[in-house]
């Protein structure tokens, strides 16, 4: 496996489809913290729980001014159906073409299964990675690590 980008590294910029007709760039969010949530696949039960939890916590993340972005190798139409079915409010980005390129740039592409790893990155307002975590594929990493990382960002008053 590639080396997972560690705290202190600049977060590689990217532009990915957020829906069949729109894109999102990491740079759009400069000036606020960003939480990147790489997850292996739409529709698999563990991802579902994880994204449901983060949807539930949108208010908490908003207290830090943080934007949460989900990323998997599924295509934008798949994300659209998944989001509608589960009532998620987190944008899901499609690392679909070239497949997994963004995951590779963060060191979290799992070649064997052809998906991203289950990985979390907290990026500060200046675009520097401040925390990263790779969970075993089948284990939902929860949100406690993300919240602790957001709390420890300099200048954060919550």
């Amino acid at each position: 496996m590639d080396t997972v980008l560690a705290p202190g590294a600049p977060a590689p910029d990217f532009t990915l489809p957020a829906s069949p007709s729109s894109t999102v760039s990491l740079a759009d969010h400069r000036g606020r913290p960003v939480v990147l949530v790489f997850y292996p696949a739409d529709w698999s039960p563990v991802c579902g729980d994880q994204l449901a939890l983060y949807t539930e916590l949108q208010e908490e993340f908003a207290r830090f001014g943080a934007q949460v972005l989900g990323i998997s190798v599924d295509g934008p139409w798949c994300h659209a159906a998944f989001t509608a079915a589960r009532n998620y409010s987190i944008p899901l980005l499609a690392d679909f073409e070239p497949k997994g390129a963004v995951a590779r740039s963060y060191g979290v592409y799992a070649k064997q299964g052809g998906t991203t790893e289950r990985a979390l990155f907290v990026i500060d307002a200046t675009g520097i990675i401040r925390w990263s975590f790779v969970s075993p594929m089948g284990v939902n990493p929860g949100a406690d690590g993300i919240l602790a990382a957001l709390e420890s960002l300099p200048g954060v008053s919550s």
Binding site: D49, A52, T55, E56, N87, N140, G142, A143, D144
Partner: protein
Amino acid sequence: MSLAVAVSATDHVQGDADAKVTLVEYGDYQCPYCGAAYHVVKAVQKHLGRKLRFVFRNFPLNQAHPMAELAAESAEAAAAQGKFWEIHDALYEHQDQLGQPLIEALVERLHLDAKTFEADLESRKFQSRVKHDFMGGVRSGVNGTPGFFINGERYDGSWEEEPLTAALLKAAAA
């Protein structure tokens, strides 16, 4: 991961404070896995008897389960009238009918004061309690429901009856 919020007098508890093992569940009344876990917990309680103390805390995933918050606040409203476990059990036993009519029927069946109950739900009196449970769970590393902790440590193993019983017995023997 360990429990960020210690078991206290504000919790809903079955069993003795000096029991050898404490099992804490973070649960959602609409989650089908919690519905299955309800029966498992009943079985392990029977198996362990006085060795086990069981605590239930709210962890409603509202976006996924639109009735979960109503159910959680209803259970707290019943708790205020001394009927927490009665409504907790009934909600899980009739999970397939979860909704306003079921809750109204339970208010009647459990002889709750309907006026107080409705006023408590209307004013969202227990919303902050439910939220407090939820955030304590998040801080403890709850990642979905049901989320179990055995003697304060997150239990990531299978919660089928056999492995859960074995884990609890092991904790009781430690």
